[in-house]
Amino acid sequence: MLLVLTSITLLTLDYRGFGPLESARSSVLSFFAPVGDAASSVFEPVGDTWNGAFASGDLQAQNDDLRRQIDELQGEVTAGRAATAELEALKAQLELDDTSGVPVVRAEVVSGALSNFDESVEINKGSSSGIAVGMPVVTGSGLVGSVASVAADRATVKLITDRSFKVGVSVAGAPGQGIVEGQGDETRLLATQFATTTDLVVDNILVTSGARRSAFPAGITVGTVTSVTTDDTTQQKTADVRLSANMNDLTYVTVLLTQTDDAG
């Protein structure tokens, strides 16, 4: 009974943001980082062999799929350059903020999630590089998550696919704001709380809205709308969103060193 009460007390303290618990987590993150790295370097080949042995059929299918994607992407590279220039021009025209002025830290992803219920990765940079909890993490394709805990040279990033992840978004180039939530799916997000008056249609690009006190600057690409439904009862629009960032290939990420009190 005493242990149960202690657990409940710890849960309560954690919900209230009790500082020493965060410090304890940071210390453990630091302590186990070299241990984890050493063990990972030994066991990663074992893991690769194991996963390769049990996923050979999938690997063949993935190879075929990747070859097809290379063909498609080669064709899209040229179009992409033109589109980038066009996007920059449109951003300037629509007075959308961009993140070019925000200082950044580039980091390598050193580990995946440490439990079956977390959608997270661990990166090899931490508070000594200026990283703090709540800062947004991006790749060239868009938003991938935010910093969940940080130690001196290590940080845990909660991915955008996590069901507890929420971020305010707006439609690029159009009025209307909503919230995007992770769905535990590597490619799909859910956008909610758009007013029915919002002109939200398929192929709209959603970007972070950069609300006041949010850690996320405006204009970070989140995803593309794939379907829209309207709920007349709640007077809200909901949309399925295809994630812009490729969550299967997170090797390097960029942390935006924003200064805010709140994440989301």
Binding site: L3, G36, A39, E44, L114, S164
Partner: protein, 175 residues
């Protein structure tokens, strides 16, 4: 409990945490990691009784809580209960074998993972109760069942029994 036992139990738990951090995050089955700290809670209950199971489960859960960003104390609460319930169940068992141990750990792991997801969901951790829960529970249970004899052996080594004490459980495993 002697200082030697405390040191040995701490060593077992830290070793398990290192294995969880370094090995089980790399080697997955169907994308699911083993949960060796849940195994420790179950093994402690089975090998050492309900009270010790609850204590070791609590410490193992607390250790795991330090690694992840889910609410601090969630695993401590669930693993503590898992260790206690496993110990209570074990006191009712009069005959046993290695297979029965593995089966007990399998069922306990399924219940433990499910309890973790349910308590997490109640506390607002929405990502725990999802469509992968059954797969996660079964894979974790299978891995834990295979490793159960090792975990029981490690904990019996760690928690030395006083010479004049009665056995922790009515049965022994490994035959």
């Amino acid at each position: 409990m002697t200082a030697k036992s405390v040191a040995r139990v701490a060593l077992v738990i830290i070793s398990a945490a290192v294995l969880q951090r370094g090995v089980f995050s790399q080697v997955t089955v169907a994308g699911v990691q083993g949960d060796i700290l849940l195994l420790l809670a179950l093994a402690a209950g089975i090998a050492l009784g309900p009270e010790r199971g609850a204590i070791i489960g609590f410490v193992a859960g607390l250790t795991f809580d330090l690694f992840v960003y889910s609410p601090f104390g969630l695993r401590a609460l669930v693993f503590c209960l898992v260790g206690f319930v496993a110990g209570r169940y074990q006191t009712s068992v009069t005959r046993s074998s290695r297979w029965r141990l593995m089966f007990t750990v399998f069922v306990g792991s399924v219940l433990g993972v499910t309890a973790l997801a349910l308590v997490g969901w109640v506390l607002g951790v929405r990502n725990m109760l999802n469509e992968r829960l059954v797969l996660v529970a079964l894979v974790v249970a299978a891995i834990n069942a295979v490793l159960a004899p090792l975990a029981v052996g490690a904990l019996r080594w760690a928690w030395e029994r006083p010479r004049d004490a009665t056995p922790y459980g009515a049965v022994t495993y490994g035959r």
